[in-house]
């Protein structure tokens, strides 16, 4: 599929927000496209210095998917929030589909290396993170939202602050605190 213009993506997001489920179906492949594009870039650049380049790439990918400049200021906060939860939904769904695809596939071919794929570092396990985030929401709703916006929505501190109507300092504090909580929760879950 051709890369959509940011305007189109934004329109789809807004349509979905207003209850248009067909819009979601169109959005999912767009996110997947970005994922594969990113993965492709990583593969070609895997051996070069990672941190700098990939930050730019991810940022651009997010911008293509969630471009707040297309939204009028009154709706920005809501737009951020809805985009982040949508990204969360799509990406976690993506992780689940990969996992089940692997498990449902040819059993004989599963090597140790592939098995390792299913138990990545906690920081790489979107499914576990999603579950821990649900638990955090029951404990402290705002902190869970901060993580959703920043981690799944790829938003900056300022954008997160704007979406939640809190200060950037509070975002930063919540962020640090939430990470510690999530880590502990995920570790307990793994230990079970």
């Amino acid at each position: 599929m051709a890369i959509q213009s940011p305007q189109e993506v934004t329109q789809l997001l807004q349509a979905w927000r207003h209850g248009d489920n067909a819009a979601l179906e169109k959005l999912v492949p767009l996110v997947y496209d970005e994922l594969h594009r990113l993965a492709h870039c990583y593969m070609n650049r895997e051996w070069e210095n990672k941190s700098l380049q990939t930050t730019v790439l991810v940022h651009e990918a997010y911008l293509r998917l969630i471009d707040a400049s297309q939204v009028d200021w009154k709706n920005r906060a809501h737009f951020f929030s809805i985009s982040a939860s949508l990204m969360r939904r799509i990406l976690v769904e993506f992780a689940r589909s990969r996992r089940s695809q692997k498990r449902g596939g040819d059993v004989r071919k599963v090597s140790l290396d592939e098995a390792a794929l299913f138990s990545p570092e906690p920081s790489e396990d979107l499914i576990a993170l999603d579950a821990a985030l649900n638990a955090l929401a029951a404990f402290d709703q705002r902190k869970a939202r901060v993580v959703e916006l920043r981690f799944f929505g790829g938003m900056t501190e300022e954008e997160t602050a704007e979406a939640l109507g809190i200060s950037s300092d509070t975002v930063l504090r919540d962020w640090k605190s939430a990470k510690l909580w999530l880590w502990r929760e995920m570790r307990q879950e793994t230990a079970k």
């Binding site: 210095n49 799944f152 990470k179 880590w183």
Partner: protein
């Protein structure tokens, strides 16, 4: 969990982190005031601090994309494992680094394990770049130093480029540095070896370009191996003006191309700025690594790549002594001098850094070793020289019976070796199951060290260097064999090699071997703690100014050689032997031979002749005396002295 409890945990976690590392434990203990479960909980979270911080730092989109990449590369890796590249059978993946994936493989021709580094295809696709890279790899492969990983082969097959190199079982330095830093002695031991490896490479005109803890392996025996020499070249962009491979290559720091080579935290300022680099750039990186080894923290570390680079360019790291308590001022100065931004004010040669570190290590050792410098007390007690026949006798039983006065059956001589040429100076392993000896080989052209298990036909050749290797001496723990390498001046020295084979390591340079008497001055003897080797330094021919001769103690792990006897010419002290309790050294003292001759009849020559005659030929079931007085009329009087 109730919110109050969580709040308490969180608050303690953050306030503990605000303390300096060595105060954290006591702070936490006090703050928890006996609530043990609270302390354990916080402590377990603190132990994962870096992972907690890393959590969610990359956005979810990136995490998902990386999972796709991993999936892809794992498929690729699964495809390589079990396959044969050229004559290497790929066994398993060992790891992955910036420069490619490393596998353990079996060299099916030589039947030895190797490490295969498979290079990413896009990295070597440019023919010019590849040509330069191969040139560099060839140069590196010629380095041949125990502290540099040996490159065996560089090859391409089925469009896979790979380097075959020495397989080393060990850990990389970044896995070994604890958060509070390494112990001083251990850090110096490792650092000196890194410096030795770098020094060798710099002498050959090769710059590492990407020295960092993950490029430094330490084996279980503490031997250091530097990996990936010059490989960083693959990720560098050529400077517009310097296309020649031998020229320092500048590295572009253009962010849009994403081409910064090397790892920011250990990069020199000139490298970060894309200016031409030379060996002093490695010295800077060495300083960063040493800093991290002794403090447990990186010298330069920002939140992002850019801020790390900024720190390298502008900031002075905190003095190591503020981060760790036992850092001697000399070490701090040495590190700071490595880390000077201005290359002209930095150490100019890694060799100088090495010498400095060796001195620091000797100081630190002598402080920690309460026994201190061996005290010399000569006892003029004369002992008779003994020659030991080198056939394998049922010696244990025989000796025991000799002592207990039980009548002996005639000893049975069992041949241990029956090779052409001469086998010399056998030495038993401490367990008594193996014998090391030196042999001049099937063609009688290269004397090397061999090990043979008692009762087995298989022999293991430990050394292969063209220079003659003589006088093996087994370490008290049975793991190493020390020996002398003679021959060309640049090779001469005392070396150490694992009794199972592998890379040899130079323990001491040739100063101990100068002069003509080396071959007659006797072998090496270990102290029981395995830290020192006793050897005899001869008197060089024609020297009048300073006489270096005498019995010396050579520190096995590097450091200053201690001369413990100073015989007056024409006397020479020879044949050192350390007592099993490590308290005394016996040695011979005799008049020196005329310069340049080695043929005057003397006990040492007798010894050699005896060795040659009885060279383990299966010629007879004859009676062989285990020991006997020297047959020579000019016997060497032995002396002994107290060490401590």
């Amino acid at each position: 969990m109730n919110p109050e409890r969580w709040q308490r945990i969180e608050q303690l976690y953050h306030s503990t982190l605000e303390r300096v590392p060595d105060q954290r434990d006591s702070f936490l203990k006090e703050a928890c005031a006996g609530d043990e479960s609270l302390r354990v909980e916080v402590e377990s979270l603190l132990a994962c601090q870096s992972k907690v911080e890393a959590l969610c730092e990359s956005p979810a989109l990136e995490v998902a994309a990386r999972a796709l990449v991993r999936e892809h590369s794992n498929q690729h890796i699964a495809a390589l494992t079990g396959r044969t590249l050229s004559h290497y059978r790929v066994l398993e993946k060992l790891g992955e680094g910036g420069m490619g994936v490393v596998y353990k493989a079996l060299d099916t021709r030589l039947n030895r394990p190797v490490a295969l580094k498979v290079l990413p295809s896009d990295r070597v696709s440019d023919p010019e770049r590849k040509r330069r890279f191969v040139k560099e790899a060839r140069a590196t492969s010629a380095l041949n130093h125990p502290n540099i990983i040996t490159i065996y082969d560089i090859d391409q097959t089925e469009s896979v480029d790979f380097i075959a190199m020495e397989y080393v079982a060990g850990k990389s330095l970044d896995e070994l540095i604890p958060r509070s830093g390494m112990q001083l002695g251990q850090a110096l031991k490792v650092a000196i070896q890194i410096a030795e490896g770098l020094s060798r490479a710099h002498t050959a005109g090769i710059i590492h370009r990407d020295l960092k803890p993950s490029n430094i392996m330490v084996t279980g025996d503490g031997l250091v191996k530097i990996l990936d020499f010059g490989l960083a070249k693959l990720t560098e962009r050529q400077s517009p003006s310097g296309p020649e491979a031998g020229q320092p290559t500048s590295i572009s720091a253009e962010t849009e191309k994403g081409t910064i080579a090397g790892t920011a935290a250990y990069m020199s300022p000139e490298q970060a700025e894309g200016r031409p680099i030379d060996a002093r750039s490695d010295i800077f990186a060495f300083g960063s690594v040493l800093y991290e080894m002794v403090t447990g923290r990186r010298a330069f570390q920002g939140d992002s790549h850019i801020s790390t680079v900024a720190a390298v360019l502008k900031e002075e790291p905190r003095p190591p002594s503020q981060l760790a308590s036992d850092i001697p001022p000399g070490l701090e100065r040495a590190i700071q001098r490595c880390l000077r931004k201005d290359t002209a004010r930095r150490w100019q040669h890694i060799e100088d850094v090495k010498v400095e570190l060796e001195e620091l290590k000797a100081e630190s050792d002598s402080q920690s070793d309460s026994a201190g410098h061996p005290v010399i007390q000569r006892h003029r007690r004369w002992l008779w020289a003994a020659l030991i026949g080198i056939a394998l006798v049922a010696a244990g039983v025989w000796l025991w019976r000799l002592r207990t006065g039980i009548e002996l059956p005639p000893p049975q001589v069992v041949p241990l070796t029956s090779y052409p040429g001469q086998e010399h100076s056998p030495t038993f392993s401490p367990e008594g199951d193996r014998v090391a000896f030196s042999w001049d080989g099937e063609k009688l052209d290269n004397r090397d060290i061999y090990v043979k298990a008692v009762g087995e036909t298989y022999k293991l050749r430990l050394t292969t260097d063209a220079a003659p290797d003589v006088f093996p001496a087994w370490s008290p723990d049975g793991r190493y064999i020390a020996f002398y390498r003679t021959g060309a001046a640049e090779k001469r020295g005392i070396y150490l090699i694992s009794a199972l084979g592998g890379q040899e390591r130079k323990v001491s340079d040739r100063t101990l071997l100068d002069g003509v008497y080396m071959s007659t001055s006797g072998g090496l003897s270990w102290t029981p703690d395995g830290k020192w080797l006793a050897g005899a330094r001869p008197r060089p021919a024609g020297t009048t100014a300073e006489d270096p001769s005498g019995i010396c103690l050579i520190p096995v792990d590097g450091g200053v050689v201690r001369r413990i006897t100073a015989p007056k010419a024409p006397l020479l002290d020879l044949y050192p032997a350390v007592s099993p309790d490590g308290k005394r050294i016996a040695f011979g003292a005799r008049r020196s031979l005329p310069t340049g001759t080695d043929s005057q009849p003397g006990p040492e020559n007798s010894a050699h002749h005896a060795g040659a005659r009885s060279k383990l030929r299966p010629d007879a079931d004859r009676e062989l005396p285990l020991s006997r007085p020297s047959p020579s009329p000019t016997s060497v009087p032995l002396r002994h002295m107290k060490l401590a």
